[in-house]
Symmetry: C2
Subunit: 351 residues, 2 copies
Amino acid sequence: MTEAYKFIDADVHNEQDDSALLPYLSEPWRSRVQTTGIGYSGSGYYSPVGVMKRDSIPPNGGKAGSDPDFMIKQLVEGYNIEYAILTGVVYNISSTHDPDYAAVICSAYNDYLINEWLGKHPAFKGAMAVSTLDPLLAAKEIDRVGGHPDIVQVIISSAARAPLGQRMYHPIYEAAQRNGLPLAIHPGAEGGGSSTAPTAAGYPTRYIEWHTCLSQMFMAHLVNMVCEGVFVKFPGLKVVLTEGGVAWLAPLMWRLDKNYKALRSTVPWLKKLPSEYIRDHCYFTTQPIEEPANPQHLIDLFNMMDAENMILFSSDYPHWDFDSPHMILQKLKPEARRKIFHENAKQLYRL
Amino acid sequence: MTEAYKFIDADVHNEQDDSALLPYLSEPWRSRVQTTGIGYSGSGYYSPVGVMKRDSIPPNGGKAGSDPDFMIKQLVEGYNIEYAILTGVVYNISSTHDPDYAAVICSAYNDYLINEWLGKHPAFKGAMAVSTLDPLLAAKEIDRVGGHPDIVQVIISSAARAPLGQRMYHPIYEAAQRNGLPLAIHPGAEGGGSSTAPTAAGYPTRYIEWHTCLSQMFMAHLVNMVCEGVFVKFPGLKVVLTEGGVAWLAPLMWRLDKNYKALRSTVPWLKKLPSEYIRDHCYFTTQPIEEPANPQHLIDLFNMMDAENMILFSSDYPHWDFDSPHMILQKLKPEARRKIFHENAKQLYRL
């Protein structure tokens, strides 16, 4: 398929050795990272296929995603990407325990991102990381670096202590709105450290289950954000549910709208159907896209929820389940394809 | 719509005052219930529309669902029900803490069910309750009363301490298979007592969210049961996911099958796609059915997953969100309707 436009990739993971943040850290944090590394809380689930796309190790032998020049060559030029939203991995720090430390790591990363990535290529746009452990510190950080012209998004972890509609998190949304930045929510540390169990029923046994059930985190956050009135309180806020799946959204909206009709007295601040708030405020990235045996089924489901206006293409480069823009969603009509692979992100991120 | 068959209702909640179980309890349990009631762990969420259908209070003023004669008149005769699977509410005891107490309450209820309901009308068939807190005691109870001719199902709570595929629960499945009984999983106590939080992201704020997110519990249990090989180990086992929704199943199967293709090395006991185990072993009851703005969307989604062989009609009588068999799924084709409202349950329960 040949398009008249380049792609916009809404989820590209730049990586770095922990030591890359040292120049951006002051004591006592610098010594901590120097001696014991950043110390993320792992989820405890093992992927037998690894985490990284095998061919994404840069020529210098460093981590996949750590070499801007190689990323430009392999992803940006290799797949005709006009803009790559660099999402990093540092949002995962929210599943540790010390709110000051988590905030400091995010700040160091944001400075590193601005200094060592965002100027390297016009395609690179940045998602600044904040921790949900102290929302007031997160809001301060958004005000500190959110005005940088190449920062186009705030990113937080979907692995949290509570559903993200809870009021303690609202200062983050207020700051994102104030700075005109969409807020991305990204999985990765579900079940690790201070975060909740990765499924409603608790801890499953294996990575295949953890990965399959990741969508539950997004369902729960979304329902809670809508019902707690986040989009009423912050009418300018846009939320990007990144890497959490898409197909579950239609059944969830049906169920939530039905329940709203019976139970609306408990959420009187909502002035329209829950699904209308979702349509007006939320975006969903494609990777990892659900793949029915009959690909037309996914397109049919998209059409049921008018999904073409809510979906952003993402590759998840350089992770193992990378989706090539040439391979996925081939049955989309050209107009829907143009929106999902280019136009929606262009408008959302004001590119 | 006039059918040539009567309906089979797979989820009918008979209720009783706690004191109704006293004749079936020995000491010290009898005194406990007499002085402080059964003592379920409530979920802590408040329904502004109540829990019971307003017109279901029997003439004697007792609890909705507590009078067999009134249930016969209102439900069985009123809605042309050939068989009503009596599911009770006692499965909720699993979210308390003492495994001996939970087992004793289930046994008392099962005796009460057999003595005071099952002989009252040929439509009444019983789901015997067991607690998941001690699976070996549960298996003993299944062997004790599972052979009764009017007991057609074992029922457990979806609110549990862990995903229900975990090996500690397998004695329950072995006993259900040994007794030729399907196993129903039913929600109600999610987030109460010893059970996990009601969503993957933790505790939402309100009942509308709790009710909307209930499906997550079923998704997680189902994924875990399939991946832990429950249906390989117990090839005769049938599982009925009761009152957990239906529409989410298609997207979940797509996601799980896709992940299986990449990650099957970690579940080598599976010999076919996860969705094939689900199709061969699982049933889903209709109430509360998802209701898209365009009802045809639900039928289209059903067709994508060949749902007509996996779905059982249920009313959830006498609960507030009761579904009348005359009102739901009107766009089904006659053949699918016959299966869902009659044939599937007839075969499953050997009626």
